[in-house]
């Protein structure tokens, strides 16, 4: 092996080790898969959680479609309303939808002001290469149901997971629309 070759090899290995060392020092892995029970515990620690079922009227379904600008596949909506010390702490919805050819389920938590509190991936049956990484899901935090809640507006796309990014954005819009329609109907 020539000396220049040895130097390059050493440099590349050092780079690799340094980078891997850096990776190991990073915070814990953020992407987790959860059961409904685990997700609710994560979203509402120390809260009382009540499962509720809303039966939408055709008019409510139409209104939810209009607000979400997308499909509302069912008139039966289950939500999990949390209270802490008698005060509303938020409402969680579980939305299952197709990504590419297979489904994913998200938990979308809506705060008492009607904005997104958090989005968690509950299950994802597509290959995990199609799952956005890093802080992508944090973009939804504090988003309200307005025209900026769209891919390529407030939500930045992610290469290689475009279909997941779009499906997620659509699901969040759908949940916020359903939450608003149900709230307007007098049921949280």
């Amino acid at each position: 092996m020539s000396s220049s070759r040895a130097r390059r090899l050493a440099a590349a290995l050092s780079l690799g080790l340094a980078l891997l060392g850096g990776a190991a020092a990073r915070p814990a892995f953020a992407k987790v898969f959860l059961t409904v029970e685990e997700a609710l515990r994560l979203a509402f620690p120390g809260c009382e959680v009540t499962r509720r079922t809303a039966y939408l009227t055709p008019e409510q379904v139409r209104r939810a479609r209009e607000l979400s600008r997308g499909e509302v596949p069912s008139a039966l909506v289950t939500s999990y309303a949390a209270t802490r010390g008698g005060q509303p702490a938020g409402t969680a919805y579980f939305d299952t939808h197709r990504v590419r050819t297979l489904p994913e389920t998200l938990m979308v938590v809506v705060d008492p002001q009607g904005k997104v509190a958090r989005v968690e991936v509950i299950s994802f049956r597509e290959p995990e290469e199609y799952l956005p990484r890093g802080a992508w899901y944090e973009q939804f935090q504090s988003e309200a149901l307005d025209r900026d809640l769209q891919l390529k507006r407030d939500i930045h796309p992610v290469t290689g997971a475009t279909l997941t990014a779009r499906a997620t954005t659509n699901a969040v819009r759908r949940v916020l629309a359903l939450h608003r329609v149900i709230s307007e109907g007098g049921r949280p």
Partner: protein, 452 residues
């Protein structure tokens, strides 16, 4: 409606929900829809009954409502699937959350993509000579993806590639994964070399340009796959892949690049191995920044009478950055390859003069696109784009050889991409191809691509 009929209806509903083979014949979606319809009818009728009921029926009505809620809950479980199961004992020593991934369903997943490419070449080269290139209309690629999950930890992924209308058939990758934990998973088989943008993500809807960047064909020889094994995983905003693979076969190296040195998993010579690693940072939404390195010999027992064994040590270093903000998408990539023992390699291959394999190969490109339909709702996208790339596959050659100026290339690509839906794309562009020899041939391209 009498309470007897109510009970019958609820029991019938429960029977549909939990029935055996007849119900399994229906799709889950159809079953859920039917149950939802029936639950809504029951709910409406209970509400009507409440309005007209005497006090004595209140208890029974409450019981019916309770049962209705149970059925609504069962529908919710069917929708959500396996995630609706209650948290149970943690698997494999992990916490319940982390072990959830191992409870996902087993089975087959299918996907694919394809590209139909029309290329119209200029009749003249830049120096005015006849180009001699014929226009071409090619079903460039048809790819079928299959993934199979045997059980909670073991899965298989493969892509079968048909090129040029089926004239060439190959496996693009075929590997087995062992999912241990998010930070460390194992992979073995025919793997994609994790360098650059295109080699691992080359579906036509993912990159701009009818043709892939030339740098990611001649220096990073996409689609570059080799037999090997290694680790992959994520830790916070950082993801990594690191593999040991069989090395290039330097017998295929040319003045034009490394492309023919790929072994593609076919009876690969395994006298020399290589290490490749990649790191990406995605801590800021829309931003991807990372790099990769490849180090290994490519001689594969190549010998010359004068030099004996020729190692052909090969090192590639690459850095990349992508930024996507609203409708904007920007990419930058730079790569350098360094080869040892090129004089001996040239001798072994009988290469003389300007035919020398490059001792150093360099290239970089910048690409910018903007979706004018961004934020208007819907999936449609209309993206004008421009890409500038410069590369030289003979940036340095050994003493006694000279570089061919035709290998010092600049390509300016300008075009338009249209996506009617996310999975379909039409790209048209014009490529101004220049090289230092003046023999560049400009071309117009149109590509129809799909993914599913």
């Amino acid at each position: 409606m009498t309470l007897l009929r109510w009970r019958c209806a609820v029991l019938a509903l429960a029977a549909v929900l939990f029935a055996g083979s007849p119900a399994r014949a229906q799709s889950t979606d159809a079953r859920v829809q039917e149950l939802e319809r029936q639950v809504q009818e029951l709910q409406a009728e209970i509400a009507a009954l409440k309005g007209g009921s005497a006090g004595g029926d209140a208890g029974r009505l409450a019981e019916l409502e309770r049962r209705l809620e149970i059925l609504a809950g069962e529908i919710e479980k069917m929708r959500i699937g396996e995630a609706a199961a209650a948290a149970d004992e943690s698997d494999y020593g992990l916490g319940p959350a982390a072990s959830k991934v191992y409870r996902t369903e087993r089975g087959l997943s299918i996907g694919g993509y394809g590209e139909l490419l029309y290329q119209r070449f200029d009749d003249e080269r830049d120096d005015g000579a006849a180009s001699g290139r014929n226009d071409q209309f090619d079903l460039l690629r048809g790819i079928l993806y299959f993934g199979y999950k045997w059980n909670d930890r073991w899965l298989f992924n493969t892509e079968i590639e048909y090129e040029h209308g089926g004239e060439e058939v190959a496996l693009e990758f075929a590997y087995i994964d062992y999912l241990w934990r998010p930070q460390a998973n194992f992979r073995a088989g025919l793997v994609l070399i994790p360098m650059g943008f295109i080699n691992e993500l080359h579906e036509p809807t993912v990159f701009l340009g009818a043709n892939r960047p030339q740098i990611e064909r001649v220096i990073i020889p996409s689609t570059w796959r080799e037999n090997g094994f290694g680790l992959f995983g994520e830790a916070g905003p950082v993801s990594y892949r690191t593999y040991i693979v069989n090395g290039f076969d330097a017998r295929g190296f040319t003045a034009g690049g490394l492309r023919n040195g790929r072994q593609n998993g076919s009876e690969s010579k395994a006298e020399d191995f290589a290490w490749v690693g990649r790191l990406d940072f995605t801590g800021v939404p829309g931003l991807l920044v990372g790099g990769s390195a490849y180090v290994g010999n490519a001689g594969q027992d190549l010998t010359t009478p004068a030099s004996g064994s020729v190692d052909v040590g090969t090192t590639l270093l690459e850095a990349h950055l992508e930024w996507r903000w609203r409708g904007l998408e920007f990419r930058a990539l730079g790569v350098q390859a360094d080869l040892d023992d090129v004089t001996a390699l040239n001798a072994a291959l009988g290469l003389t003069g300007n035919q020398s394999v490059g001792e150093t190969l360099k290239g970089h490109y910048l690409q910018l696109g903007y979706d004018f339909l961004a934020g208007r709702g819907g999936e449609r996208a209309l993206i004008p784009y421009v890409r500038w790339e410069a590369f030289n596959t003979q940036d340095e050659v050994p003493a006694g050889f000279r570089a061919n100026p035709a290998n010092d290339v600049e390509i300016l690509t300008a075009g338009l991409a249209f996506k009617p839906i996310e999975q379909l794309i039409l790209k048209v562009d014009y490529q101004d191809v220049d090289n230092e020899a003046g023999t560049g041939i400009d071309q117009f391209n149109a590509l129809l691509g799909y993914v599913f």
